[in-house]
């Protein structure tokens, strides 16, 4: 079984680039561009890891990861943000978020973080 990765970003070009970057990593990749889509997928599917953008209309990435912890406690939680300075470390710790990845991201780092989160 391929591990299932859910990527959440309000920017569909970012979703497309992330999907492209992770093409050969052997994941089944699901994407959501709104919080509603993300929550629906969390309910419908077994998910092994969730990678979410932070600043989005409607819900922040931290809120989505909080929901993910409630609905899919086993899934690894990763946050990605173009404004990482605005995220407090204690909020990450409180939600058990493994890692905060800055945008623009380094492909090799991103792949390594996902691999270790899914180990």
């Amino acid at each position: 079984m391929k591990p299932v990765l859910l990527i959440v970003d309000d920017e569909i070009r970012v979703l497309s680039a992330l999907r492209r970057a992770l093409r050969k990593e052997g994941y089944e990749i699901l994407t959501a561009s709104t919080p509603q889509q993300a929550l629906a997928l969390l309910d419908e599917r077994e998910i092994d890891a969730i990678l979410s953008d932070h600043k989005m209309p409607g819900m922040t990435g931290l809120q989505i990861l909080g929901e993910a912890r409630r609905r899919r406690p086993g899934a690894a939680r990763l946050l990605i943000s173009g404004w990482p300075e605005a995220v407090q470390q204690r909020d990450l710790d409180a939600l058990g978020v493994q890692v905060l990845i800055p945008k623009p991201w380094d492909d090799a780092d991103l792949k390594a973080e996902l691999r270790s989160a899914l180990r």
Binding site: R13, V14, A17, R23, T60, G82, P104
Partner: protein, 544 residues
């Protein structure tokens, strides 16, 4: 009453004759008369000019040449000279009168005549000396007053009832750019821009109005325009009769320059606040462009591998063509390898996705270009000339910049009405809209926090009569009534120190005033605020 000063007489006698009859006669004039004998005309003249001598008397024994020298010396400035002659000689006396003697007395009758002549001459001399002193005092007072007025820090202008200049100091001449002494008699309103009948000077003359720092524009004959503050009021004499008006003009150019600097730094401060949001907005496309480039590099490596297979296939095909059946086996194997390679790297997908990655990346770089361009047009200071601009465009480009910062917390509604072109400083108007939008955003954030809830901000533009109205309405925390009364005061801020300059709204107010408009604020605590910018439409649009 002050005691009259003792009478001082200088007696010029022949050298070596101190005990003359004249000295005796003068000594008998009384105790309050001091007599100082001297032996030469030059000594007598020097004494007379340097101290307060009332009278010079010359002894009959003095030589005519000495006497002439003395009279010449004291003629204009010095005390009167009474000449004592050794005999009654009208012709001689007339001669000395002509040379400037105040009186001539014969030695024979010296006692009585000398006393009468001396006292009379002294009285006349003292009276004229006092007059001279008074005149000197008046002249000195006039000089002092003139120095004060000329050196006062401010241009002083006095006009008569017909608004003609009756007095102007040097700073006034400099400020109005006119040569020294050329202002008197000219109508003062000629130097002020706008309706002459409505200048403060005219209103002072006609209605007695006073002005304290009213601002107006001086238009000099060399074409220079200088902003000034005028302080003026009616000028009246002790009886309350109108004499005209007196005005002090203060050059505001330097203050205006500092104000412009302040406004520009306020703008830079708000750009600083924006920077984080803008960085975020740029990091998104930068992120996917970067990732796409990385991926495209891998695609190119894959395609290069496939191309190498194609070359192998090509040479196998050539040798098969040359050798016939023998080469077919090798060709078959190369073809199999090529197909396997193409399937393994999913060549169809790679080619299609490569095109997609390029298109998406180009769209991303276009977006970065737009963001940077918006930011640059916003940061650029306006020139000194107003230009025709579309207010809707100013509002929209500003909203686009701020959007990146606020989109996670705000639901933005834009409703732009049709507006006439406006002759304005577009950069200043953008700064005003930026301030209003940033305040609205902060009010919304203060209410919704990080809850993920969105607060509404509505931008509306309308033409109402001959005014352009831009309103920014937020569903933020609102402003308490006592704070609302002070929102346009400089440095007034309810935010914590460091969270804002406290100059945003006061700057906005100034910039809108400079366009002849005003800002209105309305607010309900807990419900939100509305700020309305009202700008008078420019009377004639471009090309009309």
């Amino acid at each position: 009453m002050a005691q009259p000063a003792p009478v001082r007489i200088v007696l010029l006698g022949p050298p070596g004759a101190p005990e003359s009859a004249t000295l005796g006669a003068l000594s008998r004039l009384g105790a309050e008369v001091g007599v100082e004998p001297v032996a030469s005309a030059s000594a007598a003249g020097a004494r007379a000019l340097e101290s307060e001598v009332d009278l010079i008397v010359t002894d009959p024994g003095v030589r005519a040449s000495e006497l002439r020298a003395l009279l010449d010396r004291v003629r204009d400035e010095g005390p009167p000279v009474v000449v004592v002659l050794d005999r009654d000689d009208d012709a001689l006396a007339m001669d000395w009168f002509r040379r400037g003697a105040a009186d001539c007395v014969a030695a024979r009758s010296a006692d009585e005549a000398l006393a009468v002549a001396a006292l009379d001459v002294i009285r006349r001399h003292r009276a004229s000396r006092e007059r001279r002193l008074a005149e000197r005092r008046i002249a000195s007072l006039r000089r002092t007053t003139r120095n004060i007025i000329q050196n006062i820090h401010g241009a002083l202008l006095v006009v008569d009832g017909a608004c003609r200049v009756s007095y102007a100091n040097a700073p006034a001449e400099d400020l109005l750019g006119e040569p020294r002494g050329s202002l008197v008699g000219r109508v003062a309103t000629r130097w002020f821009a706008g309706d002459a009948a409505d200048t403060p000077l005219r209103r002072t003359l006609e209605k007695g109005e006073r002005f304290r720092g009213a601002e107006l524009l001086v238009e000099r004959s060399d074409g220079q325009r200088i902003p000034v503050a005028i302080f003026c009021g009616p000028m009246r004499d002790e009886q309350g009769r109108d004499l005209g008006a007196v005005a002090i003009l203060q050059d505001l150019s330097e203050m205006r320059r500092l104000q412009r600097q302040l406004f520009q730094s306020e703008k830079m401060a708000s750009i600083g606040q924006l920077a984080a949001g803008v960085a975020h907005e740029i990091n998104n496309p930068a992120g996917f462009i970067d990732a796409n480039l990385f991926q495209m590099e891998e695609y190119v490596a894959d395609l290069r591998r496939l191309w190498r297979r194609a070359r192998g296939l090509e040479s196998a095909a050539r040798s098969a063509l040359a050798t016939g059946a023998e080469g077919l086996e090798a060709l078959r194997s190369e073809l199999g390898a090529w197909r396997a390679e193409a399937d393994e790297l999913d060549a169809d997908f790679v080619l299609e996705d490569l095109g997609k990655a390029i298109r998406e990346s180009r769209e991303g770089s276009e977006r970065i270009r737009h963001i940077v361009q918006d930011l640059r047009t916003f940061a650029r200071p306006d020139g000194s000339q107003r230009v025709w601009a579309d207010v809707n465009q100013c509002v929209d480009s500003t909203a686009n910049i701020v959007w990146s910062l606020m989109k996670h917390a705000v639901e933005l509604h834009k409703d732009y009405g049709e507006l006439p072109a406006l002759l304005c400083h577009p950069g200043q108007l953008k700064q005003v809209f930026m301030n209003l939008l940033m305040n609205a955003y902060q009010a919304v954030v203060a209410r919704v926090g990080d809850s993920g809830e969105l607060g509404r901000i509505a931008i509306e533009t309308r033409r109402v009569g001959d005014q352009i109205v831009v309103s920014v309405q937020d569903q933020g925390i609102g402003i308490a009534p006592e704070a609302l009364a002070r929102v346009f005061d400089p440095f007034y801020s309810t935010r914590e120190v460091g969270a804002g300059t406290g100059l945003g709204l006061s700057t906005a107010f100034h910039l809108v005033s400079a366009h002849g408009g005003r800002i209105e604020a309305e607010s309900r605590e807990g419900a939100g605020s509305t700020f309305r910018v009202l700008l008078p439409a420019t009377p004639a649009g471009p090309g009309s």
